[in-house]
């Protein structure tokens, strides 16, 4: 192999004029984190609603939930990204569409919406599985206590379901974090995009990608540690 390693590259100024290559990657890292967190807010909220819809006795609610999940699960994320970014502004009313296109940081908002709606379909499946894994008696006990359906979900079913599905939700969160890299195709300057442009400017391919890889691994470890801590904090004392 005749590849010339140069680990000092991170200290060299980047062609952007301000900061070093290391700063460039770290700025990418912060966009990755910002996108992942913002889209998770949508994914978790919407996913919970859709998941609950799929467990309600109402047939219409079920149909809506199922349609949502099937629609968002069966179209590749990249295609969804293009639909939000290129297609949506065109089919909005002309004035609104132009306003959307001129939005500063448009790739960021698009990526957040796209990932939020995409991951919501996965969160919904977990929430549904969590609620369905609870013994039937819990719902009945809620009804017997005179709870309305909403109260049964709020006070009985969801607190239990969320605790059960915390591990799969963690991996959905990690998937969402990794999926932010797909947004580089619409111009979001997240970590992978930054590593890629560092490679293009400096020709130090492997240093750039090694650094990005390590940053992703650290992010993963932090999330897993956080999830473990959360799991311990919310565990029901004396529970399983």
């Amino acid at each position: 192999m005749n590849y010339t390693w140069n680990w000092g590259i991170f200290q060299e100024p980047s062609p952007e004029g301000v900061g070093t290559y290391a700063d460039m990657l770290l700025s990418g890292l912060s966009w990755t984190i910002a996108t992942a967190l913002a889209s998770w807010v949508i994914a978790f909220t919407l996913g919970s609603v859709i998941g609950v819809l799929r467990t309600l006795p109402s047939r219409a609610a079920n149909a809506v939930g199922t349609a949502y999940v099937e629609l968002f699960r069966n179209v590749p994320l990249l295609v969804q990204m293009f639909l939000w970014y290129f297609v949506l502004p065109e089919i909005l009313p002309a004035g609104l569409g132009t306003a959307v296109k001129q939005l500063p940081d448009a790739p960021f908002y698009t990526a957040v919406l796209c990932l939020g709606f995409f991951t919501a379909s996965r969160v919904a499946e977990q929430v549904r599985a969590g609620i369905q894994s609870l013994p039937r008696g819990q719902r009945m006990a809620g009804t017997a206590l005179g709870f309305t359906t909403a109260q049964t979900y709020r006070h009985v079913l969801l607190p239990n379901a969320y605790r059960i599905i915390l591990p799969p939700l963690t991996s959905e969160f990690l998937n969402n974090l990794k999926n932010t890299s797909v947004a580089l195709t619409i111009g979001l300057l997240e970590l992978t995009a930054r590593a890629r442009s560092m490679q293009e400017f400096s020709f130090q391919v492997f240093e750039a990608f090694t650094a990005a890889t390590l940053l992703y691994l650290v992010l993963n470890l932090v999330v897993v540690a956080g999830a473990t801590l959360l799991e311990r904090t919310v565990a029901v004392p004396g529970g399983r």
């Binding site: 179209v75 295609v79 992978t192």
Partner: protein, 230 residues
């Protein structure tokens, strides 16, 4: 809202979209799924082998692949494979690897990590008594795996393996970052040439949805038929 749409652009580009794009996507999916399942099964067996170094190596590989974004892995291999090739063949300069081979290697190695986890669960789902019975019959480890454990593990895990293949089918659209002409790449090229982004991307979404939705319905039907009744 559809007044300005020009759907004729879709009709005119159908031979290109399916003749080149979809053929590429399906070929890549089929080859990578086959390679991924073979390598993934090997990884699962390594991970369950109980041999200290081997178990650990397989675990590190699977965890590493699963914690990285596919896009980053695609870039890694795109630049790394020519160097590995040069090292393997003893060549002084990085060898030329076509973008297709590079993508195929990437998807095979990446998906193998996911297939490995499925196969691991499949192998672990076989009761211990069966391997014990196989040893009692005098079967070697290889024979036990080939004749007793793996056939059942594959059968139990078939729905999951197929679902993962549908995911792979969707993921192959990411070769877009290497400017390859898969189905989405073909749609995107036509879209940009004719300035018809809306029509082409909506059509691509529709085709992906139709294929994946039908496939997942078939998997669900299969699931009820192949389930081993205990």
């Amino acid at each position: 809202m559809f007044a300005h749409f020009d759907f004729s652009v879709i009709g005119a580009s159908l031979p290109y979209l399916f003749g080149q794009g979809m053929v590429f996507t399906v070929t890549l999916t089929a080859l990578a799924a086959t390679g991924g399942i073979v390598f993934g099964t090997a990884l699962a067996m390594m991970r369950l082998s109980g041999i200290p170094g081997v178990t650990h190596a397989a675990k590190v590989y699977v965890e590493l692949m699963r914690s990285l974004p596919l896009v980053l892995v695609i870039f890694w291999f795109y630049f790394l494979v020519p160097y590995i090739g040069a090292w393997a063949t003893g060549s002084a300069t990085p060898i030329q690897v076509g973008a297709f081979s590079s993508a195929l290697i990437t998807f095979t190695l990446f998906e193998a990590a996911y297939f490995a986890e499925i196969m691991r669960a499949g192998i672990q789902s076989i009761p211990k008594g069966q391997t014990a019975a196989a040893s009692a019959l005098g079967m070697s480890y290889a024979q036990t795996m080939r004749l007793v454990v793996l056939p059942q593990a594959f059968r139990n895990m078939l729905p999951l393996l197929l679902t993962q293949t549908i995911v792979l089918f969707q993921d192959t659209s990411l070769v877009y970052v290497l400017s390859l002409t898969d189905f989405l790449g073909a749609a995107s090229k036509v879209a940009q040439r004719d300035g018809r982004l809306v029509e082409m991307y909506l059509f691509a979404a529709l085709v992906y949805f139709a294929v994946c939705f039908t496939a997942s319905l078939l998997v669900r039907r299969l699931q009820t038929r192949v389930a081993i009744i205990r």
